[in-house]
């Protein structure tokens, strides 16, 4: 197994996976929060627009979205962010991953809002808090706590889904795995174990931390 690490840049490939994960998680969090605000806003049009976005994106395969980023934006429209071919694909894969997972972030945040009982808002209003105050002091703190577990699940899914970026030639782990398999078919099982255990190491802490946080910050009802 040591051969694999000396012959191939396994850690470097995992590094790209981590870069993809962190950047697209930030993007997904920003876009997802915006869509979630639209979904819970009192304006009917924004509400429907947000629902349309979530329904379209959630029902499209991620592979298709990533391929479209390449075929549609890079090849067809020539929207290059960088002259470097590899970096260009990396950036567009990040954009695709961010827009795809934003739909799930939106649903996670919305489910957090749904965990807040209506009585909380009524109580806030009845003691004379304004809309902004009741949002800030009463509703949102509870909503974010309720959304920790689904947000953590989305982050875990995102980490695993970065492998799809290999479809447009981003040099992350799944791509390296294919290369290693072709060069060293005798090490098929060790290759799988190295990659699989790498992902267990990446995703396990996320699950543990979010479970711990959601229990520690749980709202007693």
């Amino acid at each position: 197994m040591g051969e694999l690490f000396s012959q191939y840049n396994v850690l470097g490939a995992f590094g790209i996976t981590i870069v993809l994960t962190v950047l697209s998680a930030l993007g997904a969090l920003v876009i997802g929060t915006v869509v979630a605000i639209m979904r819970v806003s009192p304006v009917g049009f924004l509400n429907k627009l947000g629902a349309l976005y979530v329904n379209l994106v959630r029902n499209t395969p991620l592979t298709l979205i990533i391929v479209f980023c390449n075929i549609g934006f890079i090849v067809n429209l020539g929207m290059s962010v960088s002259d470097d071919f590899a970096r260009n694909n990396l950036v567009w894969a990040t954009i695709g991953l961010a827009f795809y997972h934003a739909a799930f972030v939106c649903e996670a945040l919305r489910s957090g809002v749904n965990t807040v009982p209506a009585g909380q808002a009524e109580a806030a209003r009845s003691i004379g808090l304004t809309f902004g105050q009741s949002l800030r002091e009463v509703l949102l703190p509870q909503a974010f706590r309720g959304a920790i577990t689904p947000l953590g699940n989305t982050l875990i899914a995102l980490t695993k889904n970065t492998t799809v970026a290999t479809a447009i030639g981003v040099a992350e782990v799944a791509g390296l795995m294919k290369t290693m398999q072709e060069d060293r078919p005798d090490l098929m099982v060790p290759i799988f174990l190295v990659v699989a255990i790498g992902f267990v190491i990446l995703t396990l802490p996320i699950g543990l931390v979010t479970t711990h946080l959601s229990q520690k910050l749980a709202v007693k009802r």
Partner: protein, 310 residues
């Protein structure tokens, strides 16, 4: 539309909402128009790029065979994942610590490894060891990856479904003399599977979407047809859009079905996993009964001790 987040809007708020609506609608239209004009500038709106989809040729030779391959891989995976999930879900509920432990490790491991990694690994193993005919290897690899991942998810759903049932259900089963496995089989599992139904149907969407990963290991499913159509009619972007619409239509139907099943179960008063457990039974007021018993007791005592020497 009511929400915990805001009051029912008054006239001033309604006017403000109208203004926000108009501004955001204009912005959305501008963004759409900009995107469409960019794609139109590259000739993607030309009729020649879209008319092929109105002819039978493209559908019969590309899209429908691709769709059939997608559905085939999904259907086989659904059956196998169900079996896998049932096996390891029950394993995780077992009394035997060793079985429980092994099932937990297997389920947690396959849940945290990306589906694509499992597909690539299976594809490599199958083709290197010549397990199947060369033409079947991609299909087998897609099914292996989907089964291991989604089977683990089903196992986890099953465990939480059984765990979410009121403890009175298994206590009642044991109390009437059923063994533990009989209780599980005839009382807990039927209820857990009903409760899981909406989540299971949503998992079908995940399976169907993930078949598109097969494109990366050369399985000829629906997404792969885009490159064939694209090079045949030189319209890769319209081809991708049509394929996306097919996926969205099928998955949207499945998602709505899941929502309908959940609503029906809730109407019937059945619990679903997402909604938590069945509520506690109504409390019976025992006080009048107790009083009556005490009163009866007293009158008996009075009778007995008042008339000993009569």
């Amino acid at each position: 539309m009511s929400s915990v987040l805001f009051d029912i809007p008054g006239p001033k708020a309604r006017a403000r909402h109208r203004l926000i609506m108009i501004v955001s609608a204009v912005l959305t239209l501008l963004a759409l128009a900009w995107a469409i004009s960019r794609f139109a500038a590259k000739g993607n709106l030309e009729a020649a790029k879209w008319t092929p989809f109105l002819t039978g040729d493209i559908w019969v030779n590309y899209l429908i065979p691709g769709l059939i391959n997608t559905l085939k891989a999904a259907a086989i995976s659904v059956v196998l994942a169900g079996a896998f999930g049932l096996l390891f879900g029950i394993g995780r509920l077992s009394d035997n610590a060793a079985i429980r432990w092994i099932s937990t490790v297997i389920v947690e491991f396959f849940r945290s490894v990306p589906v694509l990694v499992m597909m690539v690994a299976a594809f490599g193993l199958f083709s290197f060891n010549r397990v199947f005919e060369a033409s079947i290897n991609p299909l087998a690899a897609v099914i292996t990856g989907l089964t291991l991942y989604n089977g683990s998810v089903v196992a986890e759903l099953l465990r939480s479904g059984v765990g979410g049932l009121p403890s009175g259900q298994s206590e009642a089963g044991l109390a009437i003399g059923l063994t533990r496995s009989q209780t599980l089989r005839s009382i807990l599992l039927p209820q857990a599977i009903t409760a899981m139904l909406p989540a299971l149907v949503s998992q079908l969407v995940v399976i169907l979407k993930d078949t598109a990963l097969g494109a990366i290991i050369t399985y000829p499913e629906l997404l792969t047809t885009f490159s064939q159509i694209g090079s045949y009619k030189s319209n890769p972007v319209p081809a991708l859009i049509v394929i996306a619409l097919i996926f969205i239509a099928i998955n949207y139907l499945l998602t709505s079905a899941a929502a309908k099943i959940e609503a029906r179960l809730r109407d019937k008063g059945r619990a679903t996993i997402a909604k938590g457990t069945i509520g506690p039974p109504n409390r019976v007021d025992l006080e009048p009964v107790e009083e009556a018993l005490i009163a009866a007791d007293e009158s008996v005592l009075h009778e007995r001790y008042r008339t000993p020497d009569k």
